[in-house]
């Protein structure tokens, strides 16, 4: 299944209430949001973090809506995070997994999507190994919103949103500031690891730079994208040179299958040159944050002691993921507000 990322789709529609505001139906890419849209999501996330702290952490906002998770790739946290978010908004959830579906009998993606749409659903949360598949699904369907939960090496926008939220929250928390300006302006963020195959890196670079942070990519040349044209980033091959200067070090999962593609000589060599070992972590500023989208290969890209250490905010990322996805689902399905903020 391959697709172009330029399939034209009805991103903007007139709200069903006729005179209502124009609103965005889909979340495909961080680019859909822009700075204003990202800040709108982060602002709304504050409200849902508060909901999560209540005795009954559930609100009736999306009663009667149905959210389908359509995952063609394995996932633990993203799928459970979206389903938890939908349930806490009182939406009904349906779950689709390839291994127990008619896809095994040869049903095409398009037939699968149209069958599910015919049951009457309000949103598809889509993960697929092909870049651009969420755009295709949006083109085939008419009613439902489509949310990209990871398409190939392309994008994973809700991960970038929860990363922005976590940085903002944890910076304020650790520096004793009031939860303040939404922007990440002036922060220096290093993204370390397999940038080339990482949809998280792509979405994070777009989101971090949109909010005013400066980003340095740290990776061996074989794990960088063939072209960085249009990326507003610096590149380094020396992690020890970068660490003392950054506010956030964001580690990517090293996908073990890359070894077979001969992009790396060995895991041990990667850890020796690019891993965040205990010794290297000591180079970080005392208020620096260590982040990772999970799942973590302990002892490969990050030492277990560092992943569990005081600088690590990895579990905060997971916790905030639910609130961020509640904000996205509410904006698309409930609020009647244009995500792009215009």
């Amino acid at each position: 299944m391959t697709a172009t990322s330029e399939t034209s789709s009805p991103d903007l529609v007139i709200d069903a209430t006729g005179g209502g505001p124009r609103r965005r139906r889909h979340l495909m890419s961080v680019l859909d949001l822009g700075r204003e849209g990202i800040e709108e999501v982060l602002r709304l996330t504050d409200s849902f973090v508060e909901v999560g702290e209540r005795a009954i952490p559930k609100v009736p906002a999306l009663r009667g809506k149905t959210v389908v998770s359509l995952f063609f790739e394995d996932s633990t946290r993203t799928r459970l995070s979206f389903e938890t978010a939908a349930k806490r908004l009182s939406a009904d959830t349906m779950s689709f997994s390839v291994s127990t579906s008619s896809v095994k009998k040869g049903e095409s993606l398009r037939d699968t999507v149209e069958t599910i749409e015919a049951m009457g659903v309000d949103a598809f949360v889509v993960r697929h190994s092909g870049a651009g598949v969420p755009w295709q699904i949006a083109g085939w369907t008419h009613g439902p919103s489509v949310i990209n939960a990871g398409d190939g090496w392309h994008e994973h926008p809700t991960q970038a949103l929860l990363d922005c939220y976590t940085i903002r929250e944890q910076r304020a928390h650790r520096l004793g500031l009031a939860p303040g300006p939404r922007s990440l302006g002036g922060l220096r963020i290093a993204i370390v690891g397999d940038i080339r195959h990482s949809r998280v890196a792509r979405s994070d670079v777009l989101a971090f730079t949109a909010l005013g942070a400066s980003v340095t990519l740290v990776a061996p040349p074989t794990l960088l994208p063939p072209s960085l044209a249009g990326w507003q980033v610096d590149v380094s091959h020396d992690i020890e040179d970068v660490l003392p200067a950054v506010d956030v070090v964001y580690l990517l999962r090293l996908q073990r299958e890359r070894m077979q593609d001969a992009l790396l000589p060995s895991l041990r060599e990667y850890t020796a040159t690019y891993g965040l070992t205990v010794r290297r972590a000591a180079l970080l500023r005392p208020d620096a944050l260590v982040m990772h989208p999970g799942p973590v290969n302990r002892g490969v890209e990050v030492a277990a002691e560092v992943a569990d250490g005081p600088a690590s905010v990895i579990t905060r990322q997971v916790a905030n993921g639910v609130a961020v996805r509640m904000a996205v689902l509410y904006l698309l399905l409930g609020s009647g507000v244009d995500l792009a903020g215009s």
């Binding site: 505001p21 709304l44 409200s47 005795a55 009736p60 906002a61 409930g334 609020s335 009647g336």
Partner: protein, 167 residues
């Protein structure tokens, strides 16, 4: 109402709240975002000076409980801060203007997610009529007859009956 009228109404309502609850033990004020927050704070100050004992004051935004989600843009305007379990307390919900009653309905649903209050009472600065639900206030600053399309503005400068809402 000018600012002095508003201040006198707040003092009277503070006395009524203390009388009705036989003191202020286990009384909590919750101001509805955004108009009720300042009135709840001022009621709290008045109660503290009359009763010689402060009461907790929280805030509530009811956006996610509204019944017009999907009919118009609905976003939370400000923070909800209820720093305690409401089980076993007397909650006084505070708003500036009581109109259709739909915001209060949403607030009643929201409060039930914070615990089972012993009672929930309603204090408003202005009751302008036109109720669409069976809801009535326990404490009223002033009953102000209005037309449906008029605006009522409550601020530091008092209460103003404003321009007709363009429709």
């Amino acid at each position: 109402m000018d600012p002095d009228d508003v201040r006198r109404a707040i003092w009277r309502m503070a006395h009524e709240i203390i009388e009705h609850n036989h003191g202020v033990e286990r009384v909590v004020l919750i101001g509805l975002q955004t108009g009720g927050v300042d009135i709840a704070r001022r009621l709290g100050e008045a109660i503290a000076s009359v009763a010689g004992q402060g009461v907790p004051v929280g805030t509530l935004d009811v956006a996610f409980y509204r019944d017009d989600i999907g009919l118009r843009p609905v976003l939370p305007e400000a923070a909800t801060e209820i720093p305690m379990d409401l089980t076993g307390v007397h909650v006084v919900l505070v708003d500036d203007v009581l109109f259709t009653g739909r915001t209060v309905r949403a607030a009643l649903n929201a409060l039930s997610d914070f615990g089972r209050a012993t009672s929930i009472q309603l204090a408003v600065m202005i009751d302008r009529g036109h109720r669409e639900l069976p809801i009535r206030p326990d404490y009223v600053g002033k009953n102000l007859p209005t037309r449906r399309d008029e605006m009522v503005d409550v601020s530091e400068e008092g209460v103003v009956l404003g321009d007709v809402v363009p429709r």
